[in-house]
């Protein structure tokens, strides 16, 4: 396999012309940073990091609402990635340090089990993630869920964000996220490729990423823009129909706010009316209203990107800047003391750049 990777690198470099390829997946960024793919291919082939980290694009107000729920005595169950991302007044971890009951879970099923085992407690599961994660959360709600369980829903959908990126960012082609595509298939990207942008769905091994780059490059060279699949071991054209069916039994598409980007039409999921008894926004409407009011008077209210002074995560999430251009990167902002969401998450661009390239002085 090493030989094939070497051949792909040579192929990419021999055909190198100035192009900008964006990926929209934190796991792609991890592979690219960890294996220094930017260093082993021609500098003409720029690999941009898009908004592929769901916790990075979760609006601060959703985190604030989760913390408000915890402060009013509810138990918050969250994926670990979400715990350190700051809202307007600290993170879930900060709230846990203050003594509130916030638990880290691997799966929604763990949160449901906590609810079943503790009938006197009210458990709120913080449901985040792209299309990869939403079907699992839907599947759990379609089974028997106890009355003391509810969900704070902040799911996002990737193709509408990619469409926005084609308007706002200088990009020539995309690597599409392999695991999102496992669920949605390859056809939803047609709306992006029809705008003239080559797209290759690919996986997460070095070979997958190199193959994806070479295939995008090949499309650009030959003047084509279509959706190709380099991850056929897991992805097909129509996707996982069963998972899609379950997802849309439970959720409906809504306009949704992405941190650092803003509102994107039909880019998020909310629970349907039939599931409102599990919707934390509905069950705890009074706390939700109060959190919304507090947001209006918070420190970062005037900053539409919900980032702190000096932090350029908003530009990094849309590939208009790279981490090294941030005045805080590696100084005031590091994985131990993150300022913005891109440094917090294991899938954040700043986190990966810091972890894998910072020590080289890049």
């Amino acid at each position: 396999m090493e030989n094939i990777e070497q051949k792909l690198i040579s192929r990419i470099n021999e055909h190198a012309a100035p192009i900008r390829i964006m990926h929209v997946c934190g796991t792609h960024e991890r592979t690219i940073s960890k294996y220094a793919i930017r260093d082993i291919i021609s500098k003409d082939v720029q690999l941009l990091s898009g908004p592929g980290c769901p916790v990075c694009v979760t609006p601060a107000e959703d985190i604030d609402f989760a913390i408000s729920l915890a402060k009013s005595g509810k138990v918050i169950a969250s994926f670990g990635d979400m715990m350190r991302v700051p809202g307007t007044r600290g993170s879930l971890f900060d709230a846990r340090s203050d003594g509130y009951d916030i638990r880290m879970v691997y799966s929604i099923d763990d949160a449901v089990k906590i609810a079943k085992d503790n009938p006197t407690l009210d458990i709120v599961f913080f449901g985040i993630g792209f299309e990869t994660t939403a079907p699992a959360n839907a599947a759990a709600l379609l089974r028997e869920v106890p009355e003391n369980f509810s969900m704070l829903t902040s799911h996002k959908l990737m193709p509408p964000a990619m469409e926005i990126l084609t308007e706002d960012t200088i990009v020539d082609g995309f690597l599409a996220p392999g695991h999102v595509s496992t669920i949605i298939g390859t056809y939803p990207y047609n709306s992006v490729s029809e705008r003239g942008f080559p797209i290759v769905v690919t996986g997460f091994e070095v070979l997958d990423v190199l193959l994806g780059i070479a295939m995008v490059q090949n499309q650009i060279e030959s003047g084509r823009s279509c959706v190709e699949n380099a991850y056929s071991r897991c992805v097909n054209v129509e996707g996982n129909l069963k998972a899609q069916e379950m997802m849309y039994l439970v959720f409906k598409k809504i306009d949704s706010k992405w941190r650092g980007i803003g509102m994107i039409e039909k880019s998020g999921l909310a629970l349907k009316k039939e599931f409102e008894q599990f919707d934390a926004v509905n069950v705890y409407a009074d706390i939700y209203e109060k959190a919304q009011h507090e947001k209006k008077v918070s420190d970062i209210d005037n900053n539409q990107n919900e980032m702190w002074e000096g932090c350029i995560c908003a530009e990094i999430l849309t590939a208009r800047a790279q981490p090294a251009q941030c005045p805080l990167f590696g100084k005031r902002c590091s994985p131990k003391n993150p300022v913005g969401p891109c440094m917090v998450s294991l899938e954040g661009t700043c986190y990966n750049w810091y972890k894998y390239t910072h020590n080289k002085g890049i």
């Binding site: 094939i4 051949k7 792909l8 192929r11 997946c25 934190g26 796991t27 592929g52 980290c53 769901p54 916790v55 994926f79 990635d81 691997y106 799966s107 929604i108 099923d109 763990d110 985040i128 993630g129 792209f130 990869t132 994660t133 079907p135 699992a136 599947a139 379609l142 089974r143 996220p177 695991h179 999102v180 496992t182 669920i183 997460f204 070979l207 193959l211 070479a214 295939m215 090949n218 380099a230 056929s232 071991r233 897991c234 992805v235 996982n240 069963k242 998972a243 379950m246 998450s345 899938e347």
Partner: protein, 76 residues
């Protein structure tokens, strides 16, 4: 967040749960998203994300990849 790990389905526990071997670690995995548990799944590889199998991994994978590589390297 979207990280998913391949695991081999080694036993069926009930109508929607299986035990999966992920690099020597055994875990219970929910199969609802791939149509529920079925004994014919034993021995197959599934992609596991947040405790759920989100797809089965195709056996023809290497053939497909090799074809794509051949097309790129030798388009004639």
């Amino acid at each position: 967040m979207c990280i998913a790990i391949p695991g081999k389905i080694i036993s069926i526990l009930n109508e929607n749960t299986a035990t999966v071997d992920i690099g020597g670690i055994k875990r219970k995995v929910n199969l609802d998203l791939i149509g529920g548990a079925d004994r014919s799944l034993i021995g197959k590889y599934a992609l596991v994300h947040v405790g759920y199998a989100i797809s089965l991994i195709s056996d023809e994978e290497s053939e497909e990849i090799l074809k794509l590589l051949r097309d790129l390297m030798d388009p004639s």
